[in-house]
Symmetry: C2
Subunit: 891 residues, 2 copies
């Protein structure tokens, strides 16, 4: 027979932290804290197996459950000297959901459960505080009715407002016990009216109602969607935690709060958080009253006037500090705790590993290694590479002039400039048009997520460091200023005022999430420094990873940036970008307009020295590292103008007949340019183009070496190969150019010839293509377009819908589609290496900077990934984590 219920409290517990799958995260940690002898109000956890049983058996409970719960409730009563439903010493409990992983859509907490007409009277008597008792009762009715019975929240607010109006008062605190009793009754009447049945006045009914609601929320549509999107099996189930109430709203010696054992924004090793005197838990999270800091130091830094917890409740603070140290030493990670102080005594309600900014994650990880708490591997594994991106964001230039219009909390670090959008939809739309956006909201809710994601930064008028906006922005790595209280926002009119300043929809503002400031207009920014903790962690990552990290760079400046970020070579140098520059485009157009090979040769001869110069500059920068150069890829019509006025202008510049130019532009138009006359297809129809490029590359390498530079490791890459014969045809010509050059110059740089694998056919035929190719570079952008039959430029119309409906879990252009594109990569890697054992394999699509995709590349046996310069550190860390994971797998 399964054990369905696990008790905890009084310095002992039936469960422990390792039982997360059975007890959920919250339950397991409550048990663990009990075992550690920490002050945890006693309670019990109903296991996730009950949830699974519930759904596997037509929503019915195991036969033994009722008795087990009764026994556990009785035990809680014993430990607290109370009894559930007792009119004299009533036991009150909280009921909370708690799955293995935290998940949206699950039931909100119900506090004060166990209050009835009778027990409320008892509580009033017991505490001698009728106001407290009825305040707790009306809160319970409201919470339970909303969360368990599904009655709208607003209905209760209405009642409250009406009674306050009648009495002519403004604040809840002005209500007396009689008012609150009347309100409780009005609430119950309203529920009776709304549901046609009375609010349950029986504690057992209340408890089982709440338990059922937790299990019910496991199948809520939000929870289901989330699980589908994150591949969480339905049969994991959720646990239910029932715990004796402690009250933070028992007067000035009571309080409730949340704290991090270190600063979650900066990682500073200092107890950090917020508390509210005489309040219940939800008051902090909801952001209704602005809470006070925990420590004196933080209060002073913020210039706050109300006392910190350290000052107001020194004993409770000391206990909290000691418990924080105990928990960190035990969990070997920064903790995020919830606590309540009831008449001076501190109780722990929750502990979990704390979410943190990348900056904090970095500092905490490095500090903990220094403190001897964790090893380097764990430090490397613990920093989220995707979030690292935050640190690579620019910050405001301290010397730049600025026009401060508001201040708020430094909710998520980094600075951002953009046009103001007042709704999430607006933000998403602007971002889709390639504009930088700052999303400005009074406060944010889960409905705003897509807008927050699209925005460069987030600004709210309300809410603290743990408000929705702050938490989500940190998770996403978006700069955020929250609780900028002077802002008056009128989203409907598209305008906000801040002091005397008016900002309209579309106006540009700048926010600095590191200090909590808002400026009008654009403020100059500075590139981040990549030293200190960052450098330390990167060093550890480099010593762990086996994947090499290269960059996609088309210019010496890109190359320089990437090398600073630690790039070990160039994985993709696109030669066409060089074609677009001012003087060159004229020669390119002359080439396209040429009537025959001779005409093309003449134009190419003008381009040759320019391309050679480009390569020389890049090779110098790379100082002997490998450089993969892709020969011309885009269709020729991309180089021609299409609008009438441009045609006239360009014709004049190129000395060509506008009619001819127009005709050529029309002739080159394609129905599906992505699948058209581009890549090696150009090289085959106009071999002279690739011959010029090959010569430019090889000559540049010779020149750099002749000038005393290091010999570059050249990799000449032929794009869009589908057939071995294509590569053979072009390889023959490139080799011929090399032989000719060798005759002219008496020497030749070392070079490899390889191909991009970016067509499904190429992946399947990799075995034969590898007979000619000395390396493969997976062009997973195009491979995704072709394998999925989805044009990246056109996908917006349906991919958003697909993500919403859960048809795809992730945008396949952001994170590699492992089942489809991934299988092609694996097939190609395997077949390619069967033909050529030392075949060099890399990836140069934008997936090369996505941690999930990098993990895949590691497991697929690639030699390197190549990504944009700013993603290089992300890739270095992700590669190290992939190496650690595969070590564990092979253990």
């Amino acid at each position: 027979m399964s054990k369905w219920v696990y008790s905890f409290g009084d310095g002992a517990a039936e469960g422990e932290a390792g039982m997360k799958n059975l007890l959920g995260g919250k339950g397991a940690n409550l048990a663990e804290m009990s075992n550690l002898g920490l002050p945890v109000p006693p309670g019990f956890t109903i296991t996730t197996e009950v949830c699974t049983h519930y759904y596997a058996n037509g929503q019915s409970y195991p036969a033994e459950l009722k008795a087990a719960v009764e026994k556990a409730v009785a035990k809680v009563g014993e430990l607290t000297g109370t009894k559930f439903g007792d009119a004299q010493k009533p036991l009150l409990v909280s009921v909370r959901s708690g799955a293995r992983v935290s998940m949206p859509g699950m039931m909100d907490t119900v506090l004060n459960l166990g209050l009835t007409k009778e027990t409320t009277e008892g509580l009033a008597r017991l505490t001698g505080d009728a106001r407290f008792a009825y305040d707790s009762y009306r809160r319970f009715i409201q919470m339970y009715s909303n969360v368990v019975l599904g009655v709208e929240h607003a209905l209760f607010e209405e009642i409250l407002d009406t009674i306050k109006e009648e009495k002519g008062i403004e604040l809840d605190t002005e209500l007396d016990a009689a008012d609150l009793k009347r309100i409780a009754q009005a609430y119950k009447d309203r529920v009776q009216k709304d549901l046609g049945s009375p609010f349950p006045d029986d504690v057992e009914a209340q408890l089982w109602g709440a338990i059922g609601a937790v299990f019910g929320s496991w199948q809520s549509s939000r929870a289901n969607t989330y699980r589908r999107l994150h591949h969480i099996p339905e049969n994991w189930g959720t646990a239910v935690n029932v715990q004796a109430m402690v009250f933070g709203n028992r007067g000035e010696t009571s309080a409730t709060g949340v704290a991090f054992t270190r600063n979650p924004s900066t990682g500073e090793n200092l107890l950090y958080g917020e508390f509210l005197i005489n309040a219940q838990g939800e008051d902090v999270v909801a952001g209704i009253r602005t809470p006070q800091p925990i420590t004196k130091e933080v209060r002073e830094r913020q210039g706050g006037k109300l006392p910190s917890m350290e000052e107001a409740m020194p004993d409770a603070f000391a206990t909290l500090k000691r418990i924080g140290e105990t928990l960190e030493a035990h969990y070997r990670d920064m903790q995020d705790v919830e606590f309540t102080v009831q008449e001076g005594k501190l109780f722990m309600l929750q502990t979990r590993n704390g979410k943190r900014t990348a900056e904090a994650a970095l500092k905490v990880a490095v500090d903990m290694v220094k403190e001897g708490l964790i090893g380097k591997d764990i430090a490397v594994a613990r920093v989220d590479p995707a979030a690292l991106d935050q640190l690579l964001h620019p910050t405001l230039d301290p010397d730049a002039p600025r026009d401060l219009i508001a201040t708020g909390l430094a909710a998520s670090p980094g600075a951002a400039t953009g046009e103001v959008a007042f709704t999430a939809d607006e933000a998403e739309k602007l971002a889709a048009d390639g504009r930088d956006v700052i999303l400005v909201r009074t406060e944010t809710s889960p409905e705003d997520i897509h807008g927050m994601h699209a925005a460069k930064g987030i600004l709210t008028a309300r809410g603290g460091m743990t408000s929705h906006a702050a938490v989500v922005a940190r998770g996403m790595g978006r700069p955020c200023v929250s609780g900028a209280g002077t802002l008056k926002i009128d989203a409907a009119q598209g305008v906000m005022t801040a002091g005397g300043t008016t900002v309209r929809r579309g106006d540009v503002i700048t926010i600095d999430g590191a200090v909590g400031e808002v400026y009008r207009g654009k403020v100059a920014m500075r590139q981040p420094e990549l030293t200190g903790d960052f450098g330390t962690l990167m060093g550890w990552a480099d010593s762990i990873r086996t994947l090499k990290i290269r960059t996609n760079a088309d210019t010496p400046s890109d190359a320089e940036t990437a090398r600073k970020f630690g790039a070990e070579g160039i994985g993709l140098c696109r030669t066409e970008h060089m074609f677009f520059e001012q003087e060159r485009i004229v020669a390119v157009r002359q080439m396209i307009l040429a009537d025959d090979e001779k005409g093309r040769q003449a134009a190419l001869a003008r381009l040759l020295p320019m391309q050679r110069g480009d390569f020389e500059a890049i090779f110098k920068e790379m100082e002997g590292l490998p450089v993969t150069i892709r020969l011309l890829d885009p269709p020729l019509h991309e180089f021609l103008p299409h609008k009438e006025e441009e045609i006239a202008e360009v014709a004049a510049a190129a000395g060509a007949d506008p009619a001819k130019l127009r005709a050529r532009a029309i002739a080159l138009q394609e129905s599906n340019p992505m699948l058209g006359h581009r890549g090696c297809r150009l090289g085959i129809t106009y071999p002279e183009i690739y011959e010029m490029q090959a010569r430019a590359i090889l000559e540049a390498a010779l020149n750099v070496e002749a000038a005393g530079g290091k010999a570059v490791q050249l990799e000449i890459m032929v794009p869009l190969v589908g057939f071995k014969a294509e590569l053979d045809f072009l390889k023959e010509r490139i080799v011929a150019v090399a032989h000719a050059l060798e005759k002219e110059r008496g020497k030749l740089p070392n070079y490899l010839i390889g191909t991009m694998i970016e067509l499904p056919r190429a992946a399947l035929q990799a075995g034969s293509i590898a007979e000619s190719a000395e390396f493969f570079s997976f062009g997973t952008n195009d491979l995704t377009q072709t394998a999925l039959g989805v044009s990246r430029d056109d996908a917006g119309t349906f991919l958003t819908e697909y993500l919403k409906k859960g048809i795809v879990a992730r945008d396949p252009f952001v994170s590699i589609d492992q089942d489809g594109v991934g299988e092609l990569v694996r097939i190609a890697a395997k077949r390619g290496r069967e033909t050529r054992e030392n075949l060099k394999l890399g990836i140069c699509g934008e997936h090369g900077g996505d941690p999930e995709s990098i993990r895949f590349c590691h497991s697929a046996g690639l030699d390197y990934v190549s990504c944009s310069p700013f993603r290089v550190p992300v890739a270095r860390l992700a590669a190290a984590q992939a190496a650690l994971e595969s070590r564990h797998e092979s253990d």
Copy 2:
């Protein structure tokens, strides 16, 4: 030690017909004819292994070869009572190449080899015919210099013309022995001048020169290209055939000719061919003099005045007829023979299976089964399905008025109408624009192939039934009229005259290749009858094949045609074609312009009865056969106008605002519509469209059954699925429609829900998709586009170049790319059936009508192929051949 040389002649041979790989086709058959005791001039074959050895060893011969050749030459001398190089009784030989398969680019024949200054004198003495001797000598010099030494043909023509001018004569026949001797000397002088070395006057040097030239031609660029295109291994090599000369130019009792044992156009069992009295072999093939028919019957039919061979040389004719019967009985196939009559005696120079038209192939195959020569399997295997297409061409309506402007030979059957093009390039260009073209040339050469292929029909002014134009046209299945001698063609001016009529470039003419007539303008045509031999062979094919043959049909008329051709169901019914019809397009556009789902629903409600009506008509026609209906596939912008004038018109018709219409059309534009918002992606973003279609299909099936029709086997097909979740989403909705309908009508037709596999990802994920899909239909058009990354609409610019350069052997849109697309099909079939054992598999791309692709589909284990109605018989035959082949493979 290998045997390098195989002798034949005098009723015996060292080789035989089964040794084609070693002796080449020509050599093996010469040996076989010798063994059969037929009159073959003695000779020998140098094996293909010598060629292989030659190239494997730096172009040197095996050590033993020289002695073996000398011995074989001596033996030929013995058998003919002559001696190589002997001044008294000189042995003359022909030298011919002969690979395993006939191949362009190989060396042309050299005749009369062995003539030197000295032996020519000897030949004159021996034959008492100095004119014959010097005519042979100058022909030999010209041929050898051109073919072996690479001297331009035209140089010799100049000399000949100059001497004829000097003498004031016009015809070669007017030249006497002295003239010819002078000409021979002038030729040799010219060679000396051109090459800087004398024309070889040594018979051994001549022989080894010719042998070396044959081997050299194996690596000619034309031969290399051909081999690459046809996947012929380089190491097959070519053989060399050296054979004693017999002379068709020894006066009025000598002749040379070619003959088929049956009529290669019609299959009629009658010796059929052409001969020229007093001529050498090349005169017939070159089409310089127009030759005479072999039989009296044919001459009479053609109304010819010069005697047939049957009349002019009755004995030789009788021998030829008897030999033809012997060869047919021996080879069990129609033979194509070359012969020479030397002073009344017939010699056989070659036999091989004769190329034939589809009509002839059909008749010969069926006749030979009736004659007991072959079995039904062989008959089925022997008819080329691709050529069968010819029989499905229309013929001229006998009652249609017509304006005859010229007559010629009925060189290749079928009738065609088109615009006149005078060059191959012109023909190709017009055809690329979608125009029907008749290519008109004085005579054709290999350089015209691409134009012949592009043309609907071919007309020449010169050349017989075995001229280049006639042979190639029959092979391609193009109607052809050759040798229409009254035509005067001025290609440069783009005009031809025929009698009194002038026809200019672009004017329309009609040709009837079955009777050899040319008409001005368009003449009404008639559909072919598919009975008689055709029906007989199809019946045999049906009893052999295991693949089912369905058709792609969008209308009841398509369905009717296809059923007449033997279709066993519809494999692809495209619903969007129905959307384009006059009244419907208005409703479709209203749907697209609707602002919300309600507006779309209203427009769809108007479309529903129309779609239902379409389906009813098609289901009635199909009488209970399976019908696969594809739900809406193309992107919505295809239904909207894009030009300003159209927009105004359409807006008026749809009662819409032109600005809105324009805006919507622009909004729907896509960069790559092929990879855009189409297929099931439309169904997912606008589920109401597919719901309407599902309802129309199911209601139509119920209605047809209710009206007493047979219950159709419905297969509802969701296009462009890449993810199982897409199919699941839509399947759920279709099933919901079905359930609703069942409630309304109390019953439901049987139906399957399946998907097209047309994306590489879908093929790879077939195992998971088959959990939901009850059938797969491979959309190999789109699968080719995506797997190869080639847009069919844009491929013209490079695919032609690819075919020319041998980078691809076949257009992958015509014949399935077995290595790439084919592997995806095999993967999908395997994975799909692993999930669902009885998964129905078919193909509905245009490959479904291509014999090579059908063979692939059979081997990949598909259940059916679906093709256009006119290709159904081709598919039936190809499927039978595939079944026969796999029987042999499993033997």
